[in-house]
């Protein structure tokens, strides 16, 4: 995983909480900063793609490792 500025652990949370928490975390960051999100909800993979597409925040990376899903989102 590349560098990031803030981290959000949404492990154990189910839809729509990972998205809502990410939105909140991004709101407190400045443009260009990167948020690292960890989730266990398999639905979050599709959801973060959709979230990025609709909000304009860029999904830099999305990967799965050992039942955890990790995302890097760059604030627009």
């Amino acid at each position: 995983m590349a560098d990031f500025d803030e981290e959000l652990d949404a492990s154990g949370l189910n839809c729509p909480l990972p998205i809502l928490r990410a939105k909140k975390a991004l709101a407190g960051m400045s443009s260009g900063q990167v948020l690292h999100i960890i989730a266990t909800d398999p639905g979050s993979v599709k959801d973060f793609e959709a979230f990025a597409k609709q909000t304009g925040n860029e999904l830099l990376e999305s990967k799965e490792a050992g039942g955890k899903f990790e995302f890097l989102i760059k604030k627009a």
């Binding site: 949370l13 839809c15 729509p16 909480l17 809502l20 979230f51 609709q54 909000t55």
Partner: protein, 160 residues
């Protein structure tokens, strides 16, 4: 008029399971940048009570998964037995908690934080002699015309 997308929802159901779609969709849409309004009418008004006291009923609900495959053999009539509703409700709540599903109160609070506008149907409040002070703060009271004022130029309108 803003260029934000708009989502209008009518929430009509007052059960634990059906309380979720309005709040999940409203909070998520708000996170995606939508302006959202939920119009609560009839049993949906239960979702605006300070303390949400809603249940899930196995009665007349053949699609509801039950523990130990009970839904496959448990006679429908027995789901009407006293205590069944309370039992199913507490089992459902425990399951939701274990799966990391937010409570209705939490989701509602997230909606409020995201400035989702909530409107209580005045007619239903009068019809059922409900006390407006039983409802959470920050809601509005209005009728069908109030709903259409927002829904008239909504991009998505849902009836739940």
């Amino acid at each position: 008029m803003s260029d934000e997308k708009k989502l209008a929802i009518i929430a009509t159901k007052g059960t634990l399971d059906w309380g979720y779609p309005p709040f999940i969709l409203a909070s998520t849409a708000a996170a995606l940048g939508y302006e959202v309004e939920i119009f609560f009418t009839f049993y949906g008004l239960q979702l605006l009570k300070k303390k949400i006291d809603v249940k899930v009923s196995p009665l007349g609900n053949p699609g509801m998964p039950m523990p130990a495959g009970m839904d496959k053999w448990f006679p429908t009539l027995f789901t009407a037995l006293p205590g069944m509703e309370a039992m199913m409700t507490s089992m459902m709540k425990a399951k939701m908690k274990s799966k990391g599903v937010a409570s209705l109160e939490d989701l509602r609070e997230l909606c409020q934080e995201a400035e989702v506008k909530m409107v209580a149907c005045q007619m239903t409040v009068d019809l059922f002699d409900m006390n407006p002070s039983d409802f959470i703060d920050g809601i509005e009271f209005g009728g069908a015309a109030t709903f259409f004022e927002f829904a008239g130029d909504a991009d998505i309108t849902l009836f739940v």
